[in-house]
């Protein structure tokens, strides 16, 4: 059974089979619950809706506000990555992305233009684990572009875990569980954007996430060479890599590591993936392939 819906400005495709353990109705219900994961996380984490939990939180400065786990968890993960990379990855860059034209809601066409000065960093974001609250110490716009979709993918995968095999494919984020209908591991291709018939590599995957961060699909409308991954220190998009794929046990992990490594780039970006014991595949702008972790 295969279904596709729009969430988070991408096509979320879910394919699942029950291995004769479930009726079609039960399988359909699992798939619908998996889509609900994207609905719930999007509603909490969207930077493009004024009434999302994230944007409501961004209007309260200096006061601790209780937030749902749909916002708390991907934000917590993003902050851990920000600490780990010393700010090369930063969930406080929403305003910078808005200013580059990444501010249009994909369903309504409405554009967000926030009036914050842009000097804030992840250090101005405080989460309280005990109270499950968020406190912003400066006006800023949160951006969870590198963790929210992965988190939704992981929640969807959990909803489908009773199926014999499934793939949740949310554009750059993918989780493959169990086996395909032939009983084999899923074959997942990594796209090679420069070449016709372009597959960089074919992977055999079961119970793992694959996430590709790339510069080639989401370009800035205004600025030449700019795309949706930005290095906070310079405010510019790195272009030494074309794509960075990470394989990890969770989609949120694969997503955050591929985005952070892309933003850092070079040997340091590669080391980020290698030090975490993950596998990765990088396509550089001069068409070299770098392999990490014995892929």
């Amino acid at each position: 059974m295969k279904k596709a819906k729009l969430f988070m400005d991408t096509i979320v495709q879910i394919e699942a089979h029950s291995g004769n353990e479930m009726s079609d109705d039960e399988l359909d219900s699992c798939i619908n619950k998996a889509f609900d994961a994207f609905r719930l996380v999007e509603r909490a984490c969207s930077r493009f809706s004024p009434d999302s939990e994230l944007m409501q939180a961004c209007r309260r400065i200096g006061e601790a506000t209780a937030i749902s786990p749909y916002l708390f968890e991907p934000l917590k993960f993003a902050l851990e990555m920000a600490e780990w990379t010393d700010g090369s990855f930063d969930p406080a860059i929403g305003q910078l992305l808005e200013s580059k034209g990444f501010n249009r809601h994909y369903l309504t066409g409405e554009r967000m233009n926030s009036n914050v000065d842009g000097s804030a960093t992840y250090r101005d974001i405080e989460l309280s684990e005990a109270n499950r609250t968020l406190c912003l110490h400066k006006p800023l716009i949160l951006d969870l572009g590198a963790t929210a979709k992965g988190f939704a993918t992981d929640l969807a995968a959990r909803e489908l875990s009773g199926c014999a095999g499934f793939v949740v494919n949310a554009g750059g984020d993918l989780y493959a569980g169990g086996t395909n209908e032939q009983g084999d591991k899923w074959t997942i291709g990594i796209r090679e954007p420069n070449i016709a018939n372009g597959i960089l590599e074919s992977l055999s995957i079961s119970d793992a996430a694959v996430c590709t961060s790339g510069s080639y699909e989401r370009r800035s409308e205004g600025d030449e060479g700019e795309h949706h991954i930005v290095r906070p220190a310079t405010g510019k998009s790195p272009n030494e890599w074309v794509s960075c794929t990470v394989i990890a046990p969770y989609a949120m992990m694969a997503d955050a590591f591929s985005t952070a490594a892309f933003a850092i780039g070079g040997e340091e970006g590669i080391a980020l993936i290698a030090d975490a014991g993950l596998q990765g595949l990088i396509l550089t702008s001069n068409s070299r392939i770098k392999r990490i972790g014995g892929i």
Binding site: A4, I11, Q13, R39, R158, A176, S215, P249
Partner: protein, 154 residues
Amino acid sequence: MAKMNKKWVVLCSTAIAAVYVAGYWTTEIDKTNVLINTDYSSPSVSSSTLEGDSPQVSDSQSQVSTKYNNGTYIGMGSNRRGTIQVTVAIKNDRITDVEISDFAMHYSIDDVIGMPEEVLKIQSANVDNVSGATYSTRAFSDAIQDALNQALRA
């Protein structure tokens, strides 16, 4: 696996558990998400019907005027690869769901997701799925707008 891996794995697994422990999954499921902008205008869409003076009808339950009828509407749009069909669910002037409904008919789902056709051939031939940079949904704007036009209160 390196030692650091464990920390990130624990973060992910506790993140998933947090949703279920708090009981959020069952209690918050039916809230809607996207408010339809009242002065929607997309450059790629002919929006004459939206700009017209559609009468505002009072919703007896919420006491606010609504622009759209609740319901499910099928919208069509097209790009160079063919026709796109979406099913858009609207409740209280909010888009609650957009399902890509076309692939059950003439076109495969892979024809409408904005990927290069050469990749589609590979995908169907050798691999089950493809991981790439996040595709944009721009190609769907027309189809969604078409559905919204049908939902407008006349």
